[in-house]
């Protein structure tokens, strides 16, 4: 287990989930792993998720290209009227 994984293990679930998301947003390799197998990618990275977290993990749509992701999380993608 490397230092990063040890640090992850010590975090609360919510913190771990947020860190997982941050990594997804910023790490192209991890994004690809998540798209293929979200649960496996999270486990391999040492994130400890309980059953509810796993359900939430499965609930998020991690698919799509980087461009689609960018559009999806952009506030411009939501028309406010």
């Amino acid at each position: 287990m490397n230092n990063e994984e040890e640090e992850v293990k010590g975090m609360s679930n919510q913190g771990a989930m947020q860190q997982l998301t941050d990594r997804f947003m910023n790490d192209a390799g991890f994004r690809e792993e998540m798209r293929q197998d979200p649960e496996g990618a999270a486990e391999r990275s040492g994130y400890e998720l309980d059953e509810e977290d796993r359900q939430a993990l499965k609930g998020v749509d991690w698919s799509g290209t980087d461009q689609e992701l960018k559009e999806r999380v952009s506030k411009y993608s939501i028309r406010w009227c």
Binding site: A56, G59, D61, K75, C81
Partner: protein, 545 residues
């Protein structure tokens, strides 16, 4: 007596046979909406100019063939192109697509009903205009004229679109032409600049009605702001929503929030970002709020949508100084009413409050706001129609064709926290009872009224869902009206569901209809006028569930 064959022959002579369509595929598509409907379209006619519209109307009278005019027919969630009376002929006005006047100084544009938001945006861009059109959340291929005639809401300072149009050119059901306001006087210099004209004001007769076909309209345009910022706010406690609504109303009444101001719930954002999480729920519906909360608070904690209620205000200013002064007033008023408050301008995000999160991460989601998206129509919201579909969202989205289930219910509610609470409770109860997610927007259309936009979203390919959704809609609407929250806009699902007026309005409207349209050939049943037997309720499909 209805003589369709004679009418078709006459229309072919007027518009050309290529613009009179009777093939099965066309008629089937024209009779499809985003919920179950029963009425059949017998033909589609496409006149190309006002004179052809007049001639077609005269032929419709001669042959007693009812016609149902639509601009582009994208009235999704309200019945699309399906007429309120069975056996009508659809008159599509998409070939009337000219932009006939434009003035940068006095900030208006005059358009025909077939002009789309996309076309108008392209035109303004081509002219190098510094003006913006209020755009809708619907498709760029919908019609600004059609939207104004339904009193649709948009973005920007002129969000109440119908309040910023004038100079209607109208073909009456008997073929005469009238121009409203000062337009009735040839050469009047203010025909496109002033709503009221002199004497009785007629514009209102032709919106949400069937008393004429609008063939031209002037729409006012707002200037692009010299300084633009977005104000985002988030609230995690449902119980505090009424206080927030009251604070927003006070600000709006005092002259802040002059452009779009909306508050929406987490489901409303989710359905625009992704489809239903079928895998996480093993196919069960509806999606429990707890799961979404887990997703929000975990994965999306620092995203701008990571709250239970998410608000957004477009702030248009004449200078940065004005913007910063108004920002301060808003910060003071909302600071203790929300959990998160941020302002985004061309330099990035400034956080006034960001409970339980990391502002550095949040800034990444917000990015910068240079105002370049103002007045630009987009189709991103249409994705939400595919929320419950099990097939991916296609590139060329068409909710009618793809059997997306969408029914809108849009009550007008006093801009007061206590009223918004009551109306939201009614809506949420009905949705939960019938198994649909609460997909909600509270939109401030004025200083005194908000519109609640409620989406009932489902998959028409699932047996029984059409019936269940209509039942949900009817129950919700009935309870809302019973509590005093009457919808500001109807669709063919609801034309027949309004209560009888408690005064003489019904008689007056029917008398107007008989006077304007003695043969009842124009959109019979629309908004309850000229319906046979009922006020339009027969337009809906058989309930299955």
């Amino acid at each position: 007596m209805n003589d369709l064959a004679g009418a078709l022959e006459a229309w072919r002579g007027i518009v050309g046979p290529e613009h009179v369509l009777t093939d099965t595929a066309t008629l089937s598509a024209a009779g499809s909406a985003t919920f179950a409907t029963a009425n059949r379209v017998r033909a589609v006619i496409r006149p190309g100019n006002r004179e052809e519209v007049r001639s077609c109307v005269r032929a419709a009278n001669e042959h007693r063939a009812p016609i149902y005019p639509v601009s582009t027919g994208k009235n999704w969630g309200y019945g699309s192109r399906v007429p309120p009376a069975d056996g009508s002929v659809l008159m599509e006005l998409r070939r009337l697509d000219r932009i006939t006047d434009y003035d940068e100084k006095l900030a208006y544009v005059t358009v025909e009903p077939g002009v789309t938001f996309r076309q108008l945006r392209g035109f303004l861009r081509g002219e190098g205009s510094n003006l913006m059109l209020s755009v809708t959340g619907s498709t760029p291929d919908s019609s600004p004229v059609g939207n104004a005639l339904e009193r649709g809401a948009g973005s920007g300072p002129y969000a109440d679109r119908a309040a910023h149009v004038c100079g209607l050119e109208v073909v009456l059901p008997t073929g005469e032409v009238v121009r409203t306001g000062f337009g009735r006087f040839g050469g009047a210099k203010t025909a496109k600049l002033h709503r009221w004209g002199v004497g009785p004001h007629l514009d209102g007769l032709f919106a949400q009605s069937n008393l004429g076909i609008v063939t031209e309209m002037t729409m006012w345009l707002a200037p692009m702001p010299d300084y633009f910022q977005s104000c985002f706010f988030g609230l995690d406690d449902e119980a505090r929503l009424p206080d927030l609504v009251d604070a927003l109303q006070t600000l709006k009444l005092r002259g802040l929030f002059r452009a779009g101001l909306t508050v929406r719930n987490d489901f409303n954002v989710l359905v625009r970002m992704q489809q239903y999480p079928w895998g996480a729920l093993d196919g069960a519906t509806p999606m429990p709020p707890g799961l979404l909360e887990r997703m929000r608070r975990g994965f999306w904690r620092d995203a701008w949508w990571g709250s239970l209620w998410i608000g957004w205000a477009e702030l248009h200013h004449a200078s940065r100084e004005q913007g910063l002064a108004e920002r301060k007033i808003i910060e003071e008023a909302l600071g203790d009413k929300v959990d998160r408050l941020a302002f985004i301008d061309a330099e990035g995000a400034t956080f006034s409050r960001w409970e339980g999160g990391d502002t550095e991460a949040a800034a990444g989601y917000f990015g910068r706001e240079d105002g370049s998206s103002l007045g630009v129509p987009g189709d991103e919201n249409i994705r939400s129609a595919y929320w419950r579909k099990k097939t991916p969202v296609p590139e060329d989205m068409d909710p009618d064709r793809d059997r997306c289930g969408v029914i809108f219910c849009v009550p007008a509610v006093p801009f007061e926290g206590r009223h918004v609470r009551v109306a939201l409770d009614i809506v949420s109860d009905a949705l939960a009872k019938h198994g649909f997610e609460p997909i909600l927007i509270v939109g401030a259309i004025s200083e005194r009224v908000v519109y609640l936009n409620v989406d009932i979203t489902y998959d028409r390919d699932v047996a029984g869902e059409d019936g269940r959704a209509l039942k949900c809609h009817d129950e919700m609407l009935g309870r809302l009206i019973g509590a005093g929250y009457v919808p500001y806009r109807l669709g063919i699902q609801s034309f027949g569901l309004l209560p009888e007026p408690h005064d003489d309005t019904g008689g007056l409207l029917n008398a107007l209809k008989r006077t304007f349209d003695p043969n009842n050939i124009l959109a019979p049943g629309r908004y309850g006028l000229g319906a046979e037997g009922s006020r339009g309720g027969q337009a809906r499909g058989r309930e299955q569930g």
